[in-house]
């Protein structure tokens, strides 16, 4: 069943670098439906992160339109409908692991059972033993997984993960992706992963390609679920 969550129509994003305009995304059109799992592949600087940022409402297009038909326009989509993890380390240094995971729940003003929910999400990623550690006391890979636990803690309809396995060994990476897919399937959420890794991409049912800001969805592989 076609159930669109994000629709891009001829979206272009340009940035000014000094006096020069750089096009990070050009004339991109695509649709993400509920239950989709999409890998966005492309070399560094191809515009993957820009695409993810636009989907996550972290940025606005220079031209074109983006629609999120299932998300009420009056309220912010993050963190209730969109969960995202970043390429760079994104834990707050002064908060413990569990406190970092609690933040999206607190933003949603879920006063009750915040700690329990955060701990159960850490447990999902087998990180509950790190709950009281500070970010400076854990490894980069652990931090990346905690960031993913934080992205999922609000059970969002759209999960965006930018290079989620960049700092993980292959085995752990595979396991993490497996969990992401499993969770998104359980919730019927759409999962979009930006990655260089074809092994990771192969776990998704659709693969998009990006090159010099151009999004190519025409040759994407759609694996029937």
């Amino acid at each position: 069943m076609i159930d669109p969550i994000v629709i891009f129509e001829n979206v272009t994003r340009k940035f000014m670098v000094g006096d020069d305009a750089v096009t990070a995304l050009e004339n991109a059109s695509c649709t993400v439906n509920a239950g989709d799992s999409i890998a966005v592949m492309g070399p560094s600087g191809s515009g993957k992160s820009t695409l993810m940022a636009l989907m996550a409402q972290l940025d606005a297009p220079s031209s074109g339109s983006i629609y999120w038909p299932k998300f009420p326009p009056a309220e912010s989509a993050r963190p209730k409908y969109i969960g995202l993890s970043f390429q760079s380390p994104s834990l707050m240094a002064a908060l413990t692991v569990v406190e970092n995971v609690e933040v999206p729940l607190l933003v949603l003003e879920q006063g009750s059972q915040v700690r329990e929910k955060a701990l159960s999400m850490l447990k999902l990623f087998e990180l509950e033993h790190l709950a009281d550690r500070l970010p400076e006391e854990i490894s980069g890979g652990q931090a990346q997984r905690i960031a993913m636990a934080r992205a999922l803690v609000t059970s969002p309809a759209l999960i965006l993960a930018d290079e989620p396995t960049g700092q993980l060994d292959q085995e752990t990476g595979q396991s993490v992706i497996h969990k992401l897919v499993e969770v998104s399937n359980t919730w019927g959420a759409a999962l979009i992963i930006a990655t260089h890794d074809p092994v990771i991409a192969a776990k998704m049912n659709t693969v998009w390609h990006m090159r010099y800001g151009a999004l190519d969805t025409s040759n994407s592989i759609r694996i029937a679920s």
Partner: protein, 884 residues
């Protein structure tokens, strides 16, 4: 390379460099202005002190015949000086007949003066009635004889027949002690009391009357030259002026070649001022240096806030093979840029302030203060920069590129060694020692050119300030380490659901937050202690002036024209809150004539301040109640009690003049207590008794003085009373503002109000800067956290929870602690400066208005700082996330 480096620094870090330069500018401006104040106050002190001296030198001539050669020697030594001949002769008595009764005084002095004398030494006499062109009577003598201008007195000489003299005027002699001093005694000897009975005659008349006495009893008369030198030629500094006045007197002494002995009143006055000059310097140090210290501390923290970036820069320079000398040069360049800009800005601010607000002299003599402050500021910045980069210069490339300012779990050395407590203990011991010696911070032995300051005493407030600041840091870090739940509850109203993680975040940032709390507390404490000290000083100056004038306004008459006769008119004048009659008569204690004041103990306090310090038992209420309860009670001075071996309850027989026969009659009083000072009373012996008893004993209920408390500006009320009493010319109306200029301490010359005004004005940007800086210190980390929070969907109110919680905690804890530290410091300062106050204050005066302004300024600075950090970011969030 150097210019590129500097350009890059300025482009990338202009805000930090600008803030550091501003901190230096505040410190330099404050120090420069302090220096200018010291310089200006010293010269004002000298100018005011010498203004009150008349004459500067009294030359006692040896022999009485030839004074022409002494005059010529004086002219030669001091060309342009005012020189007057003054003759003194002992007399048997003076008597006058009034209303059929004869009043006769005891022994006295007849003084011969040239008619030009009052012009040469205008401050020597204050004309109360009549004119100066003829024989004059001193006020007290005129009161005893009941003689007014135009009246006649009989002068009984030691040699010759009685002489009838017609009196032209009645004068007050404010410097009678000095005028009648025995020249030739050592300066250490006690001052001699002036004679009770004084008549002043034109020189020719005196020569006619006392020629025979001069011949036959030369020991009963003497001749002096009174000399007034050009005060403009004296140096501004009291110590230098004292040395010069002494030297010039010695020069005259050499020229007189044994013909005369000099009493150097000018040097004696300057000798006293030296002490006040030192007190003034101590005041400047106590009040001013903490402000400059806070400004330097502020600069230090600003510089420190860039240490991460500087460490990376040094690491990169090392990586590219830069030698240590080159690295030092580049770090030094940053320091010089900050130091030179800040110092120049500081002296410009000081110069503008000195020419507009104050104003203060900025001539060639004062250039030194500008130079010293500039050099000091520059050196301080260089020191701060190199201390903060010293370890980086000696670390490896790797260490510099990877190290960050961590949140060390270890206690700092000072905490482990309990340095804070140690400093407070030392401060306590030093303060206790100061208290034991009566707070003798400054000593200037009379006649010795050098004066000493007990610099050890500075340790008490200095160490207390540092100790309390460190103790605050210890307590606050301890609280944030163990009181996370309590903190979470405290910030709940501001942070709501975020209170838990905000408290957690704050607890982990406790060192930075504790630094902020301490910095804000120090800034507040500096402003608070200065403000409280200033208000207490002003208030005590007011009490001192009231003590001198009697009240806000005093109406003074005589026995013949008492001020109480005009009480109805005074009471009905606008702005008069209370008018209190007070008798001022004279009474003989044995053979000693003393001032006696008749008061109503129950109502005197409504008209003027009756301080506890006026009485030996330090309890005004109890003493006045005892006087009220004992109708014939009398309070005497300590000296009288000692001289007459009095014990409480003893009967003291005084002789008071009766209105019935104008003769002195014995009146029994009961000695009930000791009085040190009293409004309008002289500094030596006097008596206080019930007005009703004196009225009954003398059959005269009139009061010579009326003390007035005003509800409007005293000067304006005094003017209105003058107009109301214009038909009663014998009544003098004075107000407190006139008294302020007359009171003894030359410390009045220290423009403390302007100084503290200046400091308090500086305190506002320091407090604002401290609060702003506290947030800037964690800006880098906070920018990162906020980008993450926004990316996770947090709203401005969620970011606000972090910022407002931190800001309010730092502001409230810093302000409250600062107010407490400042008040404690002010208490210590007031105690240590006991000798500045006359009388010492009974309690601190808290300037609530100013403290409120400080609180509001701090609050506004805090709100502005939070607002600036919460304002909409200019770059897309996706950009910020990529920079994480």
């Amino acid at each position: 390379m150097i210019s590129n480096w500097l350009r890059g620094l300025l482009r990338a870090h202009w805000a930090m460099l600008g803030a550091a330069a501003l901190g230096v500018a505040i410190a330099v401006a404050l120090l420069t202005l302090l220096g200018l104040f010291v310089s200006h106050s010293a010269s004002t002190m000298t100018a005011r002190a010498v203004l009150a001296v008349a004459p500067d030198w009294q030359v006692q001539l040896v022999g009485t015949s030839d004074y022409a050669s002494a005059q010529s020697a004086a002219h030669e030594a001091e060309p342009g000086a005012a020189i007057e001949v003054v003759d003194y002769a002992d007399i048997k008595s003076l008597s006058a007949t009034t209303q059929g009764t004869v009043q006769t005084t005891g022994i006295g002095k007849a003084v011969g003066l040239d008619l030009s004398y009052p012009k040469s030494f205008a401050k020597q006499f204050r004309l109360l009635a009549g004119s100066l062109d003829g024989p004059l009577l001193a006020q007290q003598t005129a009161a005893n004889l009941h003689v007014a201008p135009g009246g006649q007195v009989t002068l009984e000489r030691l040699v010759g027949a009685p002489e009838l003299i017609t009196i032209a005027g009645i004068v007050e002699m404010p410097s009678a002690d000095q005028f009648f001093q025995i020249v030739g005694t050592t300066t250490q000897s006690a001052p001699t009391a002036p004679p009770d009975n004084i008549i002043l005659l034109p020189l020719e008349k005196w020569n006619t009357l006392f020629a025979d006495q001069l011949e036959s009893m030369p020991q009963t008369s003497n001749r002096q030259l009174h000399i007034g030198i050009d005060h403009g030629s004296l140096p501004g500094d009291p110590v230098a002026a004292y040395v010069e006045a002494t030297g010039r007197a010695n020069n005259l002494s050499a020229k007189l070649a044994g013909e005369g002995v000099i009493a150097n009143n000018l040097a004696a006055r300057l000798d006293g001022v030296r002490l006040d000059a030192l007190f003034a310097k101590v005041l400047f140090l106590f009040l001013g240096v903490p402000g400059a210290a806070v400004a330097i501390l502020l600069t230090m923290l600003i510089v420190q806030s860039g240490s991460d970036r500087r460490r990376r820069d040094i690491g990169l320079l090392q990586l590219r093979g830069a030698a240590t000398s080159q690295t030092v040069l580049l770090v030094g360049l940053e320091a010089l840029a900050v130091g030179i800009t800040g110092s120049l800005l500081g002296v410009v601010v000081a110069w503008i302030t000195a020419h507009t607000w104050m104003p203060l002299p900025t001539g060639a003599a004062e250039v030194i203060w500008f130079v010293l402050a500039m050099v000091g500021g520059l050196l301080a910045v260089l020191l701060i920069f190199f201390l903060s980069t010293w370890t980086m210069l000696h670390q490896t490339v790797g260490a510099n590129l990877t190290a960050v300012d961590g949140h060390s779990a270890n206690q700092p050395m000072w905490q482990r060694l309990w340095i804070d407590v140690l400093l407070l203990v030392i401060a306590g011991i030093v303060f206790w020692q100061s208290a034991a010696t009566g707070y003798q911070v400054v000593t200037a032995p009379e006649g010795v050119a050098t004066a000493t300051v007990d610099y050890k005493a500075y340790l008490a407030p200095g160490l207390m300030w540092i100790g309390l600041a460190l103790l605050l840091m210890r307590l606050w870090t301890w609280f944030m380490m163990s009181g996370r739940v309590a903190l979470s509850n405290i910030i709940m109203p501001v942070a709501g659901l975020f209170s838990g993680i905000v408290a957690a975040s704050m607890c982990r940032e406790r060192l930075r937050i504790a630094k902020g709390v301490v910095l804000v507390a120090l800034a507040f404490s500096f402003a608070t202690s200065t403000a409280i000290f200033n208000t207490t000083y002003e208030s005590q100056a007011n009490v001192d002036a009231q003590l001198s004038n009697g009240a806000d306004v005093a109406v003074t008459g005589t026995v013949l024209s008492p001020a109480s006769s005009a009480i109805e008119k005074i009471m009905s004048t606008n702005g008069v809150a209370w008018a209190e009659p007070m008798q001022h008569r004279f009474a003989y204690v044995g053979t000693d004539l003393q001032d006696i004041y008749g008061i109503n103990p129950m109502t005197i306090g409504k008209a003027t301040t009756i301080a506890n310090a006026y009485f030996t038992n330090n309890d005004a209420a109890e003493t006045l109640a005892k006087l009220q309860a004992t109708s014939n009670g009398v309070l005497v001075s300590d000296e009288t009690m000692t001289d007459f071996q009095l014990k409480p309850g003893d009967t003291l027989n005084l002789r008071l003049q009766s209105a019935k026969d104008n003769a002195y009659h014995v009146v029994p009083f009961t000695f009930i207590g000791l009085v040190r000072e009293f409004p309008t009373a002289p500094t030596d012996s006097f008596l206080i008794a019930n007005a009703s008893y004196i009225a009954k004993a003398t059959e005269n209920a009139a009061s010579e003085t009326v003390l007035v408390r005003t509800s409007a500006a005293p000067a304006n009320v005094a003017q209105d009373i003058r107009i109301a009493l214009s038909d009663q010319g014998a009544l003098k109306v004075t107000d407190i503002s006139e008294a302020t200029h007359r009171i003894g301490s030359s410390l009045v010359a220290v423009d403390l109000k302007s100084l503290t005004g200046l400091e308090l004005a500086f305190a506002l940007p320091i407090i604002a800067g401290a609060l702003g800086l506290v947030f800037a210190l964690g800006l880098e980390e906070r920018r990162r956290s906020f980008a993450i929070l926004l990316a996770l969907g947090a709203k401005a109110r969620h970011l606000g929870a972090f910022l407002w919680s931190e800001a309010i905690i730092i502001y409230v804890v810093g302000m409250v602690s600062g107010l407490a530290i400042g008040t404690s410091l002010a208490w210590v300062l007031v105690k240590m400066m006991t000798h500045v106050f006359d009388p010492p204050p009974e309690a601190l005066d808290i300037p609530w208005g100013y403290l409120g302004l400080l609180a509001v300024t701090g609050f506004a600075a805090m709100c502005l700082s939070v607002y600036l950090q919460l304002r909409k970011r200019s770059e897309p969030l996706s950009f910020a996330m990529r920079k994480l």
